[in-house]
Amino acid sequence: MLRELFEWVEAFPSSLSLRESLNGYVYCLTAHVASMGLVAGLIGFWDMRLAGLALRGIRVTKVQSGLFPLMFVGLGINAITGILMVYAQPMRYYPNFWFWMKMGMLVVVAVNAAYFHMNIEKSVDKWDSDPIAPLQARVAGYVSLAFWFGIIATGRMVAYSGLVPQWWLDLGLGS
């Protein structure tokens, strides 16, 4: 079913025109990488504050309110350019192992962030100024750091579509 969806998108005239435009994909990829630095760089410092690795003398809520507005701008650009890249070449991404790994990791960081904001963050008043946050918050920080690294790594590996496990190739998604 997923394959049909990707094939359906690939047949769109706008997908075709973006795919065949001289520099459209190049601009999207360049903006995607630049905004990735913005998002992962700022989230990285937020996560490191939670994990107790950086900015320890600054209140957790101040780090959040100070870094999140620009981070969300970067996230918006990153998401739009990422969607456009897949939209332009859906059948290039569909059989790509690293693409699906990246998507899986994005789900994990989203769930981790949602869990943090809906549960752990509710008690932030009690540990806002603590240089070392409670264990749950630190774990959330470390999980986010690890998976953001994974997102960057798998994102880079998308270009190496041949360097994948044999079992993935055996699925025959590319044929």
């Binding site: 190049v26 990829l29 630095g37 992962a40 950086a54 600054i58 101040k62 880079r156 190496y160």
Partner: protein
């Protein structure tokens, strides 16, 4: 003038190893790209403060001091992981206008980040007025964004 140097780099066994092996190049690229994120984050945290945004409760000097280790070490890792990528494709880099663009922007970026910005941070808040810190913050963001764009275009358009 520099062409013989790039030819020499390209001919090194070290370069051939990276060019002919399967995993070393992607592994180095992954480390390089992850470190780019850390470096950009370290630059932005201070640049935002210079612009009067971000962590405004902290003084510029205090924030610069806190972020400095991340900035410095991430730059060291960027250089170390950049060398094999550059040497293994030395002639491609040499003939790419984006490579020279990137190197020029890195040069100016280093002057602004490790020179001008640190000088601003060494003085009392308000010493340079309201405008100059903002100009430096914007310049720094523009320079490092240009580096990122130039680096990506080496691979895509060269």
């Amino acid at each position: 003038m520099l062409q013989p140097f790039f030819e020499w780099m390209q001919g090194l066994r070290f370069s051939a190893f990276f060019l002919e092996s399967v995993w070393p190049t992607p592994i180095v690229q992954v480390i390089h790209l992850s470190t780019v994120a850390l470096f950009i984050g370290s630059v932005l945290v201070v640049d935002l403060r210079l612009l009067g945004r971000g962590l405004i409760d902290q003084s510029i000097s205090e924030l610069t001091r806190k972020v400095q280790p991340f900035l410095l070490w991430s730059f060291v890792v960027l250089v170390l992981t950049g060398i094999p990528q550059m040497s293994s494709t030395a002639l491609k880099q040499y003939y790419s206008p984006f490579f020279w663009w990137k190197m020029g922007m890195v040069f100016f970026g280093l002057i602004v980040t490790f020179g001008v910005r640190r000088y601003i941070a060494s003085k009392e808040e308000g010493y340079f007025g309201l405008v100059w810190p903002k100009v430096i913050g914007l310049t720094s963001i523009a320079l490092w964004t240009s580096v990122t764009i130039g680096a990506r275009l080496i691979g895509l358009l060269s």
